[in-house]
Symmetry: C2
Subunit: 145 residues, 2 copies
DNA sequence: ATTAACTATTGACTAAGGTAACTATAGGGG
DNA sequence: CCCCTATAGTTACCTTAGTCAATAGTTAAT
């Protein structure tokens, strides 16, 4: 019946996140900060709410992340038409940091997937979002089934 | 080249752990507390160091988890021959809590794996430990390759 | 014009973990 | 037997990262 997949899954988390943080630390980043950089690089200049929605994290958390990134000089604020919003974009230095970290992370990724066939990687890439989808769909207390 | 598997992986973590905590909350537990119960149920009465090694978490963290479980009355201490060690076992009530939670978690697990074929589940169960192994093997700074 | 909705921020709190320093016990030479 | 070292557990203090509730400033809608 294949029980205990969660356990396997969760057993990977701490070592992975620790490794990533350690890898990002020389750039003054942690994974949670990296996420913001990553999002902005991919989606272009964005607002707090957009980032917050994407990662499903409350706005105050993103505010703090962005503040720290501003202090580091990797992101900056640009005025938008709507004066409520704070549009965040990468600075020059931010672009550089992005490329460096992206490179390092990809290298790590390849290393950790050694011994995992291409087909299997594709499968992982399909299954993980599937599980997440089930998770969000499910939502409630889980006692309805 | 299959980049971004980490991202997929990590995107599942928060919803999953949140869901698990929410599921365990009625029993006064969180997933981190549950891990201790789970370990003891499976391995029998155990010491702090054993639990700490298994989950690769520092001893003080486990001390705290165990203290909270003691307050809840789900685990208790039994004297060992070695008077340094604190052997922890489940109480009667702890056994009950174990069974209830185990049941709920399995149910959730089945639910989240709906649409994932058996073969694929088996594969997941093989891949995740593989990745973890790579992670621990790698260890260092990651710049050696 | 006033009310409602939305963006971002602040403050106070919680969960979980880490490190360093400490106590108490155990065990192995000399 | 005594000393030294190793081990189990604890305590104190700090960090990261998140939540919720309340608030200020803007915008939009009736």
């Amino acid at each position: 019946m294949m029980e205990g997949i969660f356990r396997q899954y969760l057993a990977v988390y701490r070592p992975l996140i620790t490794r990533l943080n350690q890898l990002l630390e020389p750039h003054g980043l942690s994974y949670s900060l990296w996420q913001v950089i990553f999002y902005i690089e991919r989606e272009g200049p964005s607002t707090l709410v957009e980032i917050s929605n994407y990662y499903e994290v409350e706005k105050p958390s993103i505010t703090r992340r962005v503040h720290r990134l501003e202090e580091q000089g990797v992101v900056e604020q640009i005025p938008g038409n709507d004066r409520r919003v704070k549009v965040i974009r990468l600075t020059e230095s931010g672009e550089t940091v992005y490329r460096d970290c992206r490179e390092k992370i990809s290298r790590l990724e390849r290393k950790l997937l050694e011994g995992v066939g291409y087909e299997e990687q594709v499968l992982l890439n399909r299954l993980l979002p599937e599980i997440k989808k089930n998770l969000l769909r499910e939502g409630g207390t889980g006692d309805e089934a």
